[in-house]
Symmetry: none
């Protein structure tokens, strides 16, 4: 097998250097270059035609998501692995929709990067374990009605049942019912637990 040519894209120099070092320790990989933004990345692809592009998601100007779409359009043979921190899980589906074949976290070990590269090279989907785990957690996020979302936001802002009732022109009992349904859906026993989960899921 030929060595896999990899291009790394990230606006953080530290990550760029770290990835470069880690990739150079893998014997079947040749790093064909580094790019600090999407423009540089497109140029490097044109010049070096890498097999795989590993790109950060959140970058100024053009995001990794847009870059991925651009690559798929102009260079469909080039495979994309998306990379992010723990806190950007919500982008996973967007990346996959835009043609990314892999998804890893910046905390990935050398072994994991190796596996991701090999899997994606064979044109198969790779998801890091942590991502997969958090995907299940995402599926645990209850489906809320629009009214429930409304009430949840107001509770989070510290309003009481009565105040919320006044704002929504309904009885305080009604607000209370919504609150209770929220507690049931989130499987928590009181407001504190509710707000904590809502914050974790990015709902407030």
């Amino acid at each position: 097998m030929d060595r896999i040519k990899v291009l790394v894209v990230d606006d953080h120099p530290m990550v760029l250097e770290g990835m470069q070092t880690m990739l150079s320790q893998i014997d079947f990989v040749t790093v064909s270059g580094q790019a600090g933004n999407a423009y540089q990345a497109m140029e490097m692809i044109k010049e070096h035609s890498p097999d795989i592009v590993i790109t950060d998601i959140s970058m100024p100007e053009i995001s990794g998501i847009e870059l991925s779409a651009k690559i798929r359009k102009e260079y469909p043979a080039v495979k994309v692995i998306a990379m992010s921190t723990f806190n950007e899980r919500s982008y996973i589906s967007q990346m996959v929709q835009n043609g990314a074949l892999g998804y890893i976290l910046k905390s990935a070990s050398r072994e994991e990067i190796e596996e991701a590269l090999l899997t994606v090279y064979k044109n198969r989907l790779y998801m890091s374990v942590e991502v997969e785990l958090s995907r299940q957690e995402i599926n645990k996020i209850p489906l809320l009605t629009s009214r429930e979302k409304e009430v949840l936001s107001l509770i989070a802002e510290g309003f009481t049942n009565t105040q919320i009732a006044d704002k929504l022109f309904v009885s305080a009992y009604t607000v209370d019912s919504h609150r209770k349904n929220l507690l049931t859906k989130f499987e928590v026993g009181n407001t504190a637990g509710l707000i904590k989960l809502a914050a974790r899921y990015g709902l407030i």
Copy 2:
């Protein structure tokens, strides 16, 4: 001037490698080692006695904050620079309280790391520009006593005053007092607002 001996601590191998590479490009720096956790870090300090330790904040088991406190206690001559991602700014005040002299983000450039090292080496405080900008928000984070942090965590997990009292072997009245102090310190009117702010500040 002798070369500054630097130890890097981070549980993400990619950051470790990246920082190592970037530091090796600075002529007045010698990297005296890498550590993947706080235990390794303490051993390396004992062995190599570095001038400066650059440590990640959020690490499993022992956090960078605790590590910083430990270093100040056992090796007061060793200076600490804290490092985090964008999303963990709330820890800055805690780090400074625990003896860190500098604070940089993982997106720092080589030049910025250089400046941070030189400043801290002279025993002066260094804050990266991005951090400085958000410091005003950080100053709003109330200083909590250890007991208050404990109670806050338990409230966030959904326990009632009585349950918390049982866990801490104190009266429910006491727990209530702590709760009231928390509400006052956070300037909120009820538990919902308390948990929301605590979550935003990364305290729970």
